[in-house]
Amino acid sequence: MRAGTAARVLAAVAGVAMFAVTVRYAVLRSIDVRPAVWVRWWVTAAVVHDVVVAPAAIAVGWLVVRFAPRWLKAPLQTALLLSAVIVAVSWPALRGYGRMPSNPTYLPRDYAGGLTLTLAVVWIACAGWAAARLVRRRQAAPLGPSVAAAPR
């Protein structure tokens, strides 16, 4: 345990030292880093995420768990999670913000098509999974859904 404590103290001290490196670099290269602008960007990112994005995701997840039928819950959670991530990652390409008429090798693909295709694969796979869960549930409960056993 003593060695563990020492390692933790060391890690924390190293972390503070890295903050010092950050400040030094940001000040020395302030023409490029623009520290005031830079800080505003990452603080805004944290606040927007914690105040808007995460609560919204939690609310959607809560709705699914609360209202979706049992057989649909996990597949729907999965499809929504994957979709959110895929849309977030492909957003700049999809909107084409960085498109340059003078250089068509930036964003050379059809991203609306690519996104549609990717999401279609996700939703079809999850729909198949949900259907399989529904069928299994029906088989396990010939008397009807109200007395069905839990899927899986």
Partner: protein, 395 residues
């Protein structure tokens, strides 16, 4: 340190929705099984690994462009930078679902009551702001950068570098603070007290997060991993597209180097040399050439291999009578631009495959690839593979 702070007690209707320090992350009023330290610990470890990989490969990329005096960048292995920078971008993109899932899982702690009880708790929780802000900044600016999108007023590379130190510093403090909880959480079974009403189990949730990382990788990594090209429908670059089948970062139109007048064009080798050279394009073509198969690797993570033919830089230096081991600076015809000139270190200048290339896959260079002459060297970021080269200055 042992000072206990007193906090007001919120009304019970609110209180039951807020987790308490030391109690489970999911507040008593919720039925969630996923807002859980077992999830937080596992995703945390995955983040520590991915962020460390990104940090190390990022530092490597940084020193190529701002080399410290004590470090000589090697020219070999030729494909090293292609691998390190490919890994950097692929790992960073794969970390996006890991980060979002982790922050989602621990989010109730954001409204924890009381926020902290001791000075030590206050300090490590304060370090979460640079950690969370820095992580989102790194992944967000990286994702925008590879799409050529710069919606901010700072220099991307330097701001991203600063954020990487900030984030890794925050990560070390965080690990120091949660090491004990993490170790305990890893010892407990994921299955214990899990959901049974058809929603994702803890294991299922972690699996889906992993699947999200997988989908992100497959749909984007083809920018550098050629076999994945057909599947990478969301990749912002495509290694087979562009003039002569090779992508371009700075076009001749943007650099103002379209339609170079070959009659007026000269390649100069000058500076600390015995015999300065002034060569026409035809004189360069008449020199003995070499063909090298080398990747062009962008700092933005894409790469494409090609056969380049041209005059080895070291032959030119020898002909001009430069001292071996001299530092070389190349300049472009381009008038403006951050990468108008580049330094060629000793190891690269001495390498047989460091070429002033005239041909790409057997054809004269396209203007976008640097016609009439460009540098192509092993293990070197694309921004330093200077195009439209007109002077070789020996220092």
């Amino acid at each position: 340190m042992a000072v206990r702070l007193r906090w007001p007690e919120p009304p019970p209707a609110v209180r039951r929705w807020l987790p308490e320090p030391g109690e489970p992350i999911a507040p008593p009023a919720t039925s969630s099984k996923l807002h859980d330290d077992r999830i937080a610990a596992r995703l945390g470890i995955a983040l520590a690994v991915t962020f460390t990989v990104c940090f190390l490969t990022g530092l490597w990329s940084h020193v190529q462009q701002d080399p410290p005096t004590w470090l000589a960048i090697p020219a070999r292995p030729a494909g090293l930078y292609r691998i390190t920078q490919g890994v950097h971008v692929i790992t960073g993109l794969a970390a996006i679902p890991l980060l979002l899932a982790k922050l989602w899982a621990v989010w109730p702690r954001f409204v924890q009551w009381p926020p902290f009880r001791t000075v030590r708790e206050a300090l490590w929780r304060a370090a979460l702001l640079p950690l969370v802000g820095g992580s989102l900044f790194l992944l967000g600016t990286g994702t925008a950068n590879i799409a050529g999108w710069y919606p901010w007023k700072f220099d991307f590379r330097k701001a991203h570098f600063a954020a990487s130190w900030l984030t890794m510093g925050g990560l070390l403090i965080h690990v120091a603070a949660v090491a004990g909880i993490t170790a305990a959480a890893l010892r407990r079974s994921l299955k214990e007290d899990d959901a049974t009403d058809g929603r994702l189990s803890r294991r299922g949730f972690l699996g889906v997060v992993g699947a999200a990382a997988g989908v992100v990788t497959v749909t984007t990594a083809g920018a550098t991993v050629r076999p994945l090209r057909a599947l990478s429908v969301l990749a912002t670059r495509d290694p087979g597209s562009g003039p002569q089948g090779v992508p371009v970062n700075r076009s001749a139109a943007d650099a103002g180097t379209r339609g170079v007048d070959l009659g007026a064009y000269r390649l100069r080798v000058e500076g600390r040399v015995a015999t300065p050279l002034v060569l026409t394009y035809d004189e360069v073509l008449a020199m003995s050439t070499r063909t090298a198969s080398l990747p062009i690797t962008c700092v933005e993570g894409w790469s494409a291999s090609a056969d380049w033919r041209g005059v080895p830089l070291r032959d030119l230096l020898r002909r001009a009578g430069a001292e071996p081991g001299a530092e070389v600076v190349l300049s472009s015809l381009e008038q403006r631009g951050a990468y108008r000139t580049s330094k060629v270190g000793q190891d690269h200048a001495a390498d047989a495959d460091t070429l002033l290339a005239t041909h790409l896959d057997g054809q004269p260079l396209d203007p976008d690839h640097g016609f009439p002459l460009r540098l192509i060297a092993p293990n070197r970021p694309g921004v330093l593979q200077t195009k439209w080269v007109t002077t070789v200055e020996v220092r």
